[in-house]
């Protein structure tokens, strides 16, 4: 199976909308599966009008541990508080208490405690599952409990899930979250191809370069899609010459069109909502297949 990650650095440039329509286009000739790796705010299935209550499977997931203190055994020595690099332990009535949002589950406090009073325990920090779209392919996704840490590990689990539910798939499409931190690194690693979505604004361009650094770090072949390209043609030219200088293919320029918002509101992928986008996404599909498979 070949895998393609869609990322952007900047949020709201159209990653998921593009991933959804590209998935529909690809599914016409390939066996595909999607992984929604934006585990903070998982949205991909919503573009297919599939909310969590319509999932085939939606189960609690534990990828994290947090420290717990046994009050009986604690001798109030304060070693754990001194040791915690994440400042997740604080003294309350002479007993250390754990801030569940701050605790990374590293276990340093457990190791340092001379009274053996600290143990790590598993916590359910997310839900994971999958759903089937009417186009025949499935989407694996997860939702991190708001405020919990471990998004990188949850992302890895979503990719694993996608592999599990569609073992015969030719192509996996990974929809990454915004940013360039932990969950994005986990989304990008191990893919065969990266599509970086950008828009012709100073922010879009700046974040494109950051996303590119992540992709280059993993030595992944890549292409760029400029969304809403006609918002600022001068800036689009700037992005194009940047791409040329760095020998990166521009896969497509997509115009600014309120139809994208209408399609999203109706929860139909734009490729299916407005037929004029069928040609556009078929073209992206062909280019991607050439890039990834040949």
């Amino acid at each position: 199976m070949k895998s393609i990650v869609v990322l952007s650095g900047k949020g709201g440039v159209g990653k998921s909308s593009i991933a959804a329509s590209l998935a529909v286009a690809l599914s016409k000739e390939k066996n595909i599966v999607c992984a929604d790796c934006d585990v903070d705010a998982s949205n991909l299935s919503l573009l297919f009008a599939l909310s969590e209550d319509k999932y085939e499977e939606w189960n609690p997931l534990s990828t994290n541990q947090i420290a717990t203190v046994d009050k009986e055994k604690c001798i109030s020595c304060g070693q754990c508080i001194k040791t915690c690099y994440f400042k997740a332990l604080k003294l309350k009535d002479n007993i250390p208490t754990v801030d569940e949002f701050g605790c990374e589950g590293c276990g340093a406090c457990e190791l340092i405690c001379p009274a053996n009073a600290i143990k790590l325990k598993d916590i359910n920090n997310a839900h994971i599952g999958y759903t089937k779209t009417k186009y025949g392919f499935s989407i694996a996704s997860a939702q991190l409990e708001p405020g919990n840490s471990g998004s990188g590990k949850v992302v890895a689990e979503v990719k694993k899930k996608a592999n599990e539910i569609s073992q015969k798939a030719d192509i996996l499409i990974v929809d990454s979250s915004a940013g360039i931190g932990c969950p994005v690194i986990a989304s990008v690693t191990g893919n065969d191809y990266a599509i970086i979505v950008t828009e012709p604004t100073p922010s879009g361009f700046s974040d494109l370069k950051k996303a590119l650094e992540v992709v280059n770090h993993f030595r992944i072949k890549k292409g760029i899609i400029i969304n809403k390209f006609d918002l600022n043609n001068k800036f689009t030219e700037k992005i194009c010459s940047f791409a040329e200088e760095n020998q990166i293919k521009i896969l497509k320029k997509i115009p600014f069109d309120k139809e994208f918002v209408h399609a999203m509101t109706k929860m139909i992928p734009i490729i299916d909502y407005n037929k004029k986008y069928e040609v556009l996404f078929d073209d992206i599909k062909n280019k991607v297949i050439t890039e990834v498979i040949e």
């Binding site: 573009l47 990374e104 840490s149 100073p202």
Partner: protein, 276 residues
């Protein structure tokens, strides 16, 4: 007394930075205002305001340094490392993958030979800048460093130092709901979530409202591009989480245009946000 307001939203691209920069800029015309760009993965406020940032300081994180003369290849450090930054194979020197390391220190505690000490790795920088009367503080995560919240924590330390010089501090958070966003709420007395009336915007707004409830912060809502979707769904959430819509922004090609040209964005009557 300074008022610290965090602008967040869950979903990316709903207009967090647009609102934060427009509000801060307008407010700075008659108040002393600091804008803090806490979207450290992809900070953009300086671009929206056309500010040339200058470096304030470098942010480091500790990582282990292994003295191979002392190391007996026992494998204890690899065994306790939860992030797989230290990999130990029998009778071989430990392999260290610095990008994976969060500096927790378990390896140092576990090492029976006292072979591990600390060294620093650079994980990002803080910058400052200004435009007219508005001051900007901005954090920037180095690429391929995973821990955004360390940078946000440094921003918080910086805010603590200078907050008394200001009447208002506006903190622009990252998208999402994980660690760096929560860290950005730490000093805020008020949180405002910017959303859009699309199914995705509403879905992510609910996650933010759930998070705020969990951490006992009161959050209000600004609906951006309120005229392009279905605001009914937003209203349902407002009732469910017992909060209020404090401002609505219509879809405007002018906002999109000035955004794409890098001009400071103006939102009519934006200061009403503070009267609510």
């Amino acid at each position: 007394m300074v008022e610290i307001i965090a602008i967040t939203g869950g979903k990316g691209g709903t207009g967090k930075s647009t609102v934060a920069t427009a509000l801060a800029y307008e407010l700075s015309k008659s108040n002393s205002v600091l804008l803090v760009d806490a979207d450290v993965d992809c900070p953009n406020d300086h671009l929206l305001l056309n500010i040339n940032r200058e470096e304030l300081n470098t942010v480091y994180q500790r990582i282990p340094k292994i003295d191979l003369n002392k190391c007996t290849k026992c494998g204890q450090c690899g065994k306790v490392c939860k992030t797989k930054a230290l990999i130990t194979i029998k009778d071989r020197n430990p392999i260290f993958v610095q990008e994976q390391c969060n500096g927790c220190g378990s390896c140092k505690i576990a090492c029976p030979e006292d072979a591990i000490s600390w060294q620093d790795k650079e994980i990002g920088k803080l910058y400052k800048g200004s435009r007219d009367n508005l001051n900007l503080l901005s954090g920037d995560l180095k690429t391929n460093q995973p821990i955004s919240e360390f940078i946000v924590n440094h921003l918080n330390e910086e805010i603590e130092k200078i907050k008394d010089n200001y009447e208002y501090i506006i903190i622009d958070t990252a998208a999402g709901t994980h660690c760096p966003v929560i860290a950005a709420f730490e000093l805020a007395s008020k949180v405002i979530a910017v959303t859009e009336p699309t199914p995705l915007g509403v879905h992510d707004l609910e996650i933010i409202l759930r998070l705020l409830k969990k951490i006992n912060k009161y959050g209000t809502v600004i609906v951006n591009r309120f005229d392009i979707g279905n605001i009914q769904k937003v209203n349902e959430l407002i009732t469910k989480y017992n909060t209020r819509i404090i401002f609505k922004i219509p879809f405007s090609k002018d906002i999109v245009d000035s955004y794409s040209k890098g001009n400071p964005i103006q939102i009519k009557n934006i200061l009403e946000v503070l009267k609510q």
